[in-house]
């Protein structure tokens, strides 16, 4: 298992080493992650899968610096983020990390354009007009920029969220069940959009999902079970993934 991560060390932008996460103490302690090594390759779409409670969300939270591991290290672009204080972590999120959430997490009082520009506004930077146009072009939001989230469909809202995440050209974009709250048409659209950002923009994406069809667009799928990394598939199709999942749940 341990050398799964090492295999792809070449060109890795995110490397986790021996990551464990324990919640609670004493008898009530639960190990959400146990000694996980992961390496995320730049310019690739990596999916993390696993049954409920397998620790896939915890892994993503730790990789993104939202949660701290009880043991192990996480390096993004050569910095061990587990040692950073709140200010440095904030700066890291600002400069290196993008998020796409299951429930979109758009700010209801801002319109689409303002939501998209928000991370840059927070950082006190101006949007590069050409990059902005390119992102809007990619996400097909040209005619929706003045709409508030409440005036947009779920798929449109998620496209705004992806545009928002892409604006700061993050080192890694984390997508947490990005299609979990969408119908199948919108899901397909979002997955295509994410895929394109990788293929055309060279974006590194880590996506947590429990949907095999979503995971099928990934370059690589990592499987977690009971807090351990148990399997990896490279460029699988949906059937491969369903098969792997069945094996996991059958065991």
């Amino acid at each position: 298992m341990a050398n799964l991560g090492a295999m792809a060390q070449n060109g890795a932008v995110l490397v986790a080493h021996g990551v464990s996460r324990r919640y609670g103490e004493g008898d009530a302690a639960v190990d959400a992650l146990l000694d996980v090594d992961v390496s995320i390759e730049g310019g690739k779409l990596t999916a993390v899968m696993g049954p409920s409670g397998s620790g896939k969300s915890t892994l993503m939270h730790i990789l993104a610096g939202l949660d701290r591991p009880t043991a192990g290290t996480v390096e993004i672009d050569g910095t061990d983020i587990t040692k950073l204080d709140d200010d440095d972590l904030t700066r890291l999120r600002r400069d290196h990390i993008g998020f796409v959430f299951q429930f979109f997490n758009l700010l209801p009082m801002l319109d689409a354009r303002e939501n998209i520009e928000l991370p840059l506004a927070i950082a006190g930077r101006q949007a590069e007009p050409s990059w902005f146009d390119q992102v809007i072009e990619q996400t097909h939001l040209g005619d929706r920029l003045t709409h508030r989230p409440s005036e947009l469909s779920g798929g449109q809202q998620q496209r705004v969220a992806i545009a928002r995440a892409l604006m700061s050209k993050p080192t890694v974009l984390f997508a947490d069940e990005p299609t979990g709250n969408l119908d199948s048409a919108a899901s397909t659209e979002i997955l295509e959009l994410i895929r394109r950002s990788v293929d055309e923009g060279g974006q590194t994406v880590v996506m947590v999902t429990h949907d095999p069809y979503a995971a099928a667009v990934a370059d690589r799928v990592l499987f977690l079970e009971d807090g351990r990394l148990v399997r990896e598939l490279v460029a699988p199709n949906a059937d491969d993934i369903i098969g792997a999942m069945k094996e996991l749940t059958a065991r």
Partner: protein
């Protein structure tokens, strides 16, 4: 980020407006107070400038003691002096013209009734048409007065339909005299002067009327052109007798305005104190509303954090929001306050208290202070919630139902809030009981103490909210069944929120209760004092219950058929042991109408005071180590020093006595005061209280419209009526803070309904009707209001007991009827507060509510 904060504000319009309202009222009170007092000040300044028009110097009598320092019974005016001075002044080389005048307080009587407008004074003075340059009056109809004639201001004339040629009664120190109205006058540009009645007489008539024959109250001097007022004054000075003084006209105008200005300063401080209370309550409402909104926006803040916002940015965004709300609220408050002041002026106008030159004065200071106060209070109140918002973790963006972590344990919080409360009580007790603190010190310590107690109890009260809600919600459960039970549990489930909401109301109710307790204490003591002391049947006082009556009233009463005995109490200022205090003088018959308890000496003292005897009360005796035989000397306003010997020490009841610290015989009193006047005349009638006796007394006093005959009960009622009006004013001012807390409840309920949208949808889906939904919110509101009320009343009782222990004239009494009224009022407040939130809750459609995210 700032744009984000502002956008949030405007998206949550309703919430922002409700929050802002808490500040608007307080700021309105601040700005209204300033506008009102500034305008009144300017009005009075212009009055006095008008009065001293054309006057380069004034000569007035000189009081041997500064009577302005004491408010003990009238006589703040300066003594009159011999009119011979006028001729000597006129003879001075630099004097172009000089005029002597007398003044007094004449009651104009029409159809047997004294004319009075509210509490406005009745001003009377001599006028001399030969010297129009000094006159602030303009003749608008008829002629200037000759002997036994008068001119009246047009305002009074038109209100009471007095016409030139009419004969009306005038009463000052003697019985009513009939005089002819020779003309009508205007004061300055306005018809009247703040509702006062103005009456002008020729000099001899005025001197006779005010019992100042051969005397003058003032001399006004105009200098030749080119002579400075200072030079004029220095020329007059050498010829002045000892009992007079000279000032320039401008100095005198300023001096005269000072008296009203010092009252206005007090009035301003008083109103600002209540504005402060309203703002303090408002800060609770703001802090609470903000912490609720922030809790509801946890995910929003967490998302911002994941997008790279740091803690300072979050803090700033909340504070900017508060800043904007505070600023807008303050501006609105400023405007409302302006309207408030304007409205009050119209109100004054409609009750006859017309102010001359009544332009509204709006100083830039008013705007600066009002806006600063509004913004500062709002921002200060938002600090705690803002710091809480910075504790939101980025990971909360992906967590369902994330809450903001507390930084300290419940135990630590308990210790902190209990400590704050105790510290507050310590400060309060120190302020009350520590010796040697000045008034400012006492009030300062008490204020700080009360503030800390209120904050401390507000923090502590979250602990007893669940049990209190359990008990107070019992009727709701009984009446409302399941709906009542849900309402009660809603009030209990977030104790901190319910406690904070209720605390705003608690402050108002604690203060209202305190005021009610103090008033009840004073009233019951006063009743007790009258019952212990007063053996007579009737008392004669001035119509307003506190002014002095001319001595002749007491003499006239004695002619009443059926009178057994009567005794008057004189009152005046005197300087005793270095302080200006009230000196009282009594007739020898006083012992037949009053029963005093003697500590030293006996009631025989009263009949044998003579020309050198005096008595005092035990408190004053203790303070100055006085015993029977101790010599006491004091100075009267005329400059006489009197030496008396203490003959007795009496023990007054807790409610006080009609006497000043030192009492002498009326014979001695009359010898040492220019115009001795009575505070009270106590009367015993044969046959006691009866309609016939009352009528007989009133018949005797018909010529004195300002004298009022009262039996024992009426006397008590009248004496406490002033206190009751004060009480009502306090209630009205405190009601403002209660209105602010009402908005606090509305705000919390609206936010809670918003937060429980899903839950309410579920309840509606399982069959709760709209009516039941409304009722559920209503019950919760009433339970919250009752929690605040019960806590407030409890705290008010504790504070009242502490204060009663300190102030000797207050007997600690719990005014049960008032407290019940407060509880009823609180229930009404709860019901009112629920109207809007309940309607919103009932409007939610089950399906939409369930799909709400």
């Amino acid at each position: 980020m700032i744009r984000f904060a502002l956008r949030g504000l405007f998206t949550r319009k309703l919430r922002s407006v409700l929050t802002a309202f808490a500040i608007v009222l307080g700021v309105a009170l601040v700005s209204g107070t300033y506008v009102l007092t500034d305008s009144i000040t300017r009005a009075f300044d212009s009055i006095f400038q008008n009065v001293y028009r054309g006057t380069d110097a004034t000569i007035i009598g000189r009081n041997a003691i500064d009577t302005n320092a004491s408010n003990a019974g009238g006589g703040a005016s300066t003594p009159s002096f011999d009119q011979g001075l006028l001729a000597r002044v006129r003879a001075l080389p630099d004097v172009k013209a000089a005029i002597g005048g007398v003044s007094g307080e004449p009651h104009l009587v029409k159809n047997g009734k004294a004319i009075a407008f509210g509490g406005a004074p009745n001003l009377g003075f001599s006028v001399d048409p030969k010297y129009p340059q000094f006159s602030s009056l303009k003749l608008s109809r008829g002629a200037w007065p000759g002997p036994n004639e008068l001119v009246v201001d047009t305002g009074t004339a038109s209100k009471k339909s007095i016409h030139v040629g009419d004969t009306i009664g005038v009463q000052a120190l003697g019985p009513v005299k009939q005089m002819r109205v020779s003309g009508l006058v205007k004061f300055g540009s306005a018809g009247s002067l703040g509702g006062a009645t103005l009456a002008g007489f020729d000099i001899q008539t005025a001197q006779a009327l005010f019992d100042k024959r051969g005397k003058l109250d003032d001399i006004r001097v105009a200098a030749h052109p080119g002579v400075s007022p200072q030079r004029l004054v220095s020329q007059i000075k050498p010829i002045l007798p000892r009992d007079t003084q000279v000032r320039t006209g401008a100095q005198q105008a300023k001096k005269s305005a000072n008296a009203t200005n010092s009252f206005l300063t007090f009035f301003k401080t008083f109103l600002l104190a209540f504005a402060g209370i309203a703002l303090f309550v408002g800060s609770f409402v703001i802090a609470n509303s903000l912490s609720i909104t922030i809790a509801q926006r946890t995910r929003e803040f967490a998302t911002l954090r994941t997008l790279g916002a740091n803690r300072r940015q979050i803090l700033r965004s909340v504070l900017v929001e508060a800043l904007v709300v505070g600023f807008l609220a303050a501006v609105a408050g400023l405007f409302v306050g302006f309207l408030l002041a304007k409205g009050l002026f119209s109100l004054f106008d409609s009750v006859g208290f017309t102010l001359p030159n009544s332009g509204i004065v709006f100083k830039s200071r008013t705007a600066v202070v009002a806006i600063l106060v509004g913004v500062l209070v709002t921002v200060a109140a938002s600090l705690r919630p803002a710091v809480r918002a910075t504790r939101v973790q980025p990971i909360d963006a992906v967590r369902e139902g994330a809450t903001i972590p507390e930084t300290s344990t419940p135990r630590r919080r308990l210790i902190r809030s209990a400590g704050l409360t105790l510290l507050g009580f310590a400060a309060l007790v120190y302020g009350l009981f520590a010796p040697g603190l000045g008034t400012g010190g006492v009030l300062g310590w008490m204020g700080v103490g009360a503030l800390m107690i209120f904050v401390g109890v507000a923090l502590l009260s979250a602990r007893w909210v669940p049990s209190l809600a359990q008990v107070l919600g019992w009727p709701a459960v009984r009446i409302g069944g399941a709906v009542g039970r849900i309402a009660r549990e809603n009030a209990r489930r977030n104790p901190q929120r319910t406690a904070s909401t209720a605390s705003a109301l608690m402050i108002g109710l604690a203060l209202v209760t305190l005021v009610a307790i103090l008033a009840a204490g004073i009233i019951s003591n006063f009743k007790g004092a009258v019952d212990t002391l007063f053996k007579g049947d009737y008392v004669v006082t001035a119509q307003n219950n506190f002014s002095l009556l001319p001595r002749v009233v007491g003499k006239t009463v004695q002619q009443t058929p059926g009178l057994a005995t009567s005794a008057s109490v004189r009152g005046g200022d005197a300087k005793i042991f270095g302080h200006v205090d009230q000196l009282t003088g009594v007739d020898p018959t006083i012992g037949q109408t009053l029963a005093l308890k003697w500590k030293e000496g006996s009631s025989a003292v009263l009949t044998s005071l003579g020309q050198d005897g005096a008595f005092t009360d035990d408190g004053y005796a203790k303070k100055h180590h006085l015993h029977v035989g101790s010599p006491v000397s004091f100075e009267t306003p005329t400059g006489d020093t009197l030496h008396v010997v203490i003959r007795g020490v009496f023990k007054p009841p807790a409610g006080g006595s009609p006497f000043g610290p030192i009492t002498v015989s009326s014979a001695l009193f009359d010898r040492s005061y220019q115009q001795p006047q009575n505070l009270f005349t106590f009367i015993n009638m044969r046959g006691g209280e009866s309609a016939a006796n009352q009528a007989a007394l009133e018949q005797t006093l018909k010529g004195f419209p300002n004298a009022k005959v009262q039996n024992r009960q009426k006397f008590i009622d009248n004496q406490i009526s002033g206190l009751k009006s004060t009480l009502n004013v306090l209630y009205v001012l405190l009601a403002l803070s209660i209105i602010v807390s009402l908005f606090g409840i509305v705000n919390t309920l609206v936010l809670s309904v918003f937060e429980r949208t899903r839950e309410i949808g579920m309840l509606r889906a399982v069959g709760m009707t709209r009516r039941q939904t409304r009722r559920m919110i209503r019950y919760e509101s009433v339970v919250t209001a009752l929690i605040g009320t019960v806590t407030g009343i409890g705290l008010g009782i504790v504070l009242g007991a502490l204060l009663a222990a300190r102030v000797k004239n207050i007997n600690f009494t719990i005014p049960v009827a008032s407290l019940i009224a407060f509880i009823v009022a609180a229930i009404i407040v709860g019901l009112l507060a629920a109207i809007f939130p309940a309607r919103r809750a009932a409007r939610l459609r089950p399906l939409e509510a369930l799909s709400y995210e």
